[in-house]
């Protein structure tokens, strides 16, 4: 029991899934979050300036 609580995840995702329905589209909230994070990463990758050391050569 102790081992199980040590090895177990901190956040329990093994519950009935949450889904968004829109017409024929069905998508899980977890997938939406991942897609949102991917879009955010893409935007940040473009928006954040390149790190420069010693200026332009």
């Amino acid at each position: 029991m102790i081992g199980r609580s040590i090895l177990g995840a901190l956040v329990n995702l093994t519950k009935p899934g949450m889904y968004v329905h829109w017409g024929f589209i069905q998508i899980s909230v977890a997938n939406l979050i991942v897609i949102g994070l991917m879009a955010l990463t893409f935007i940040l990758a473009i928006a954040i300036p390149f790190h420069r050391k010693g200026g332009r050569s």
Binding site: A9, L10, V11, P16, I27, S28, A30
Partner: protein, 321 residues
Amino acid sequence: MTKTKERRFNPDRDVNPWKGGYRPYDIAKEIVICFVVMLVLVVGLAIVFGSPDDKAVTIQTWSNANQVDFAQTAITELDGTSATAQYGPPYNNVADVSQKIGPFSPEALVGVHIPVNTAQDFVIGPLETVTNSPVLTMALNQFNAASPSQQANWESAYATAVQKAKVFHNVLVVPLARYGPVGIMIRQLTDMARSGALDTSMINQDHFYGTDYTKSLLYVADGTYFSDQGTALHLSGGQWGMMNETGNFPGQAWLWLYSFWYQIPPFTTAWEPNADILVSVLMMILSVLLILVPFVPGVRSIPRWSRVYRLIWRDHYKGRE
């Protein structure tokens, strides 16, 4: 004297020679940093969220959870009306049921190479391994000695009766009818399934360590219990199930386009019987088109027109126009 024709400059194909400065870049350092970041992310996310760990559905769990569904499925395996029995190649020779595009049917072309005889492999064969039940041995002898038409009559009577079956004190009770030895056979098969012995007998014994679960998976898939479990977990085809994972875990979001076609007509209507092969071929065509983007006029110009590269390299282009 030959005259060389000069090609016109095409901004999608040609580049001007670089006249600016150069600077060193350590790609090995980038690879190491990316690897370490990904490692920390994977371990960190695994600690916080864990991973899906739903138990596999076996014949034993199925038959214990729903004895009636198991018995109703078992009789369809015996009388040859189950989905597996009617599947055609690669399992059995049922004509004109394989998916096809026009005359082209890969399954029919390859033919039967994983032979499955549901009556023998799913019912009679496993029952014949039980040697300590004289009642069952008598029932099997009676069934095997009967004519095909007699067998069909018993099977038909049982298939009708089992629709009204109930579980009473954890025992399967099927209304009495003229189903001869079939009642004893399915009852014994249900007991065998509930004990886990049927799972064991289904594993392909060709190798020392049996890992071929084809037959038991087909058996489980023929019942309604398994598909109900899948639907409850949003894993069915019509629920974009290809993209989903059990519980609240993220799934295979990158399969959205593959899954998309299964949600819209004509893949859900006129093309539904051949949807798998049609979607597969469509995705192959789209994948080839994606690979060929650099050669498709117009499409290959989108990065230049969208000017996203100018956002990425904005320092470089600052003050150039």
